[in-house]
């Protein structure tokens, strides 16, 4: 009986640990910036607080789990930053963090494409994020850009849903080193 069970035990032996290298996103070394159109002109800002974990084998990413604190928004205009934390935008009191988690990652020529879900303000939508993972000066650096429709996530509700004055498209550019 015991002998028969022995092979089953192997099912619980983890896959060789060397396969996956999981590292924390270094929030101090990187940036998440965004650009949206206000009255037809580009308007830029960034988020100072973000982090998470990225797992990879060699240079192939296997899992992404990242978050961002919208309360750390910095547009250079304090009154705009304050408005962005209110309910019409990020509602930071109720939703202090937004997150992206991958379900799968596929390799593309020179880049990789993460399939996953982005959760903002309690709304989750599938999102594909193209990115690169490269070694720079001995550090792993992940970088990429994407375009979001802010209205799908309820960013800028009420009068702010007028996209002639505040564009629907938000371009996000990210770059962060891994610890």
């Amino acid at each position: 009986m015991t002998r028969r069970l022995i092979p089953l035990l192997f099912l619980f032996v983890p896959v060789p640990a060397s396969a996956d290298d999981c590292r924390a996103v270094d929030g101090a070394r990187g940036s998440v910036s965004f650009e949206v159109r206000q009255a037809g002109s580009p308007f830029r800002g960034m988020f100072r607080g973000f982090g998470g974990e990225i797992c990879f084998t060699q240079d192939r990413v296997t899992r992404i789990d990242v978050w961002l604190h919208p309360a750390t928004v910095d547009t250079g205009l304090p009154e705009v930053d304050a408005a962005l934390k209110e309910t019409e935008f990020f509602a930071v009191k109720e939703f202090p963090r937004l997150a992206f988690a991958s379900t799968s990652v596929e390799a593309r020529e020179g880049r990789q494409l993460a399939h996953g879900a982005l959760h903002i303000k309690g709304k989750g939508h599938n999102l594909d994020v193209p990115f690169r993972l490269q070694q720079e000066e001995g550090r792993w650096v992940v970088s990429g850009s994407l375009t979001l429709d802010r209205l799908r996530y309820g960013i800028g509700t009420g009068e702010w849903s007028d996209t002639r004055w505040l564009g629907a498209e938000v371009k996000v550019v990210f770059r962060a080193a891994l610890r």
Partner: protein, 186 residues
């Protein structure tokens, strides 16, 4: 009606520049004062965008007006006016040009430094004069307000003097800037 200025009065081009710029400056100051007190809102974004577009329009008109004035000198002030008054009038008019060019420029610098670039009435992207810088933005904002404050003071003096000429002295000085002849002339 003459196009060019003559010894008696301003031509129709100079008058058109004067009254159009005057009307726009009043609208502009009104919009600026109204928008400045609004909290961050769609209305503030809309009014400030219009204010910025109109300000650049005024700047362009004033530069054209200045070019026209350079080619077509204004009529001389009457000898009946004391010398100091004529000097004060000339100085006021010069200062108007300085302020009407510097005030919108300071506003444009402020918008650029604040990262709130201008798209002219939604028709054309206007280049930034400086890159985004919060401290510079505050400095330009203050400069813009001081210049507009001076402009408002100058306007009070200018309008007061014009009305004085029109209704108390009745010396035809104000009528040089009006398309019709004075009913009574001294």
């Amino acid at each position: 009606m003459r196009f060019r200025n003559s010894a008696e009065g301003y031509g129709i081009i100079a008058q058109a520049f004067h009254w159009i710029v005057a009307a726009l400056v009043f609208v502009q100051i009104g919009m600026g004062l109204y928008a400045a007190d609004l909290p961050v809102s769609l209305a503030r974004l809309q009014w400030l965008s219009r204010h910025k577009s109109l300000g650049l329009g005024i700047l362009a008109l004033v530069l054209l007006r200045f070019a026209w004035r350079s080619l077509n000198p204004p009529p001389a002030l009457p000898d009946s006016m004391p010398r100091w008054e004529r000097r004060a009038a000339v100085a006021t008019h010069r200062l108007f040009y300085v302020l009407l060019i510097l005030a919108p420029l300071a506003g444009w610098f402020h918008a650029s430094a604040a990262g709130l670039s201008v798209n002219w009435f939604g028709l054309m992207q206007v280049p930034d004069l400086v890159s985004k810088d919060r401290e510079l933005a505050e400095l330009f904002k203050l400069t813009h307000r001081v210049l507009v404050g001076l402009l408002a003071l100058l306007l009070v003096g200018h309008i007061g003097a014009a009305l004085h000429h029109a209704f108390l002295r009745r010396d035809g000085v104000m009528h040089r800037m009006l398309p019709w002849r004075p009913r009574r002339n001294v």
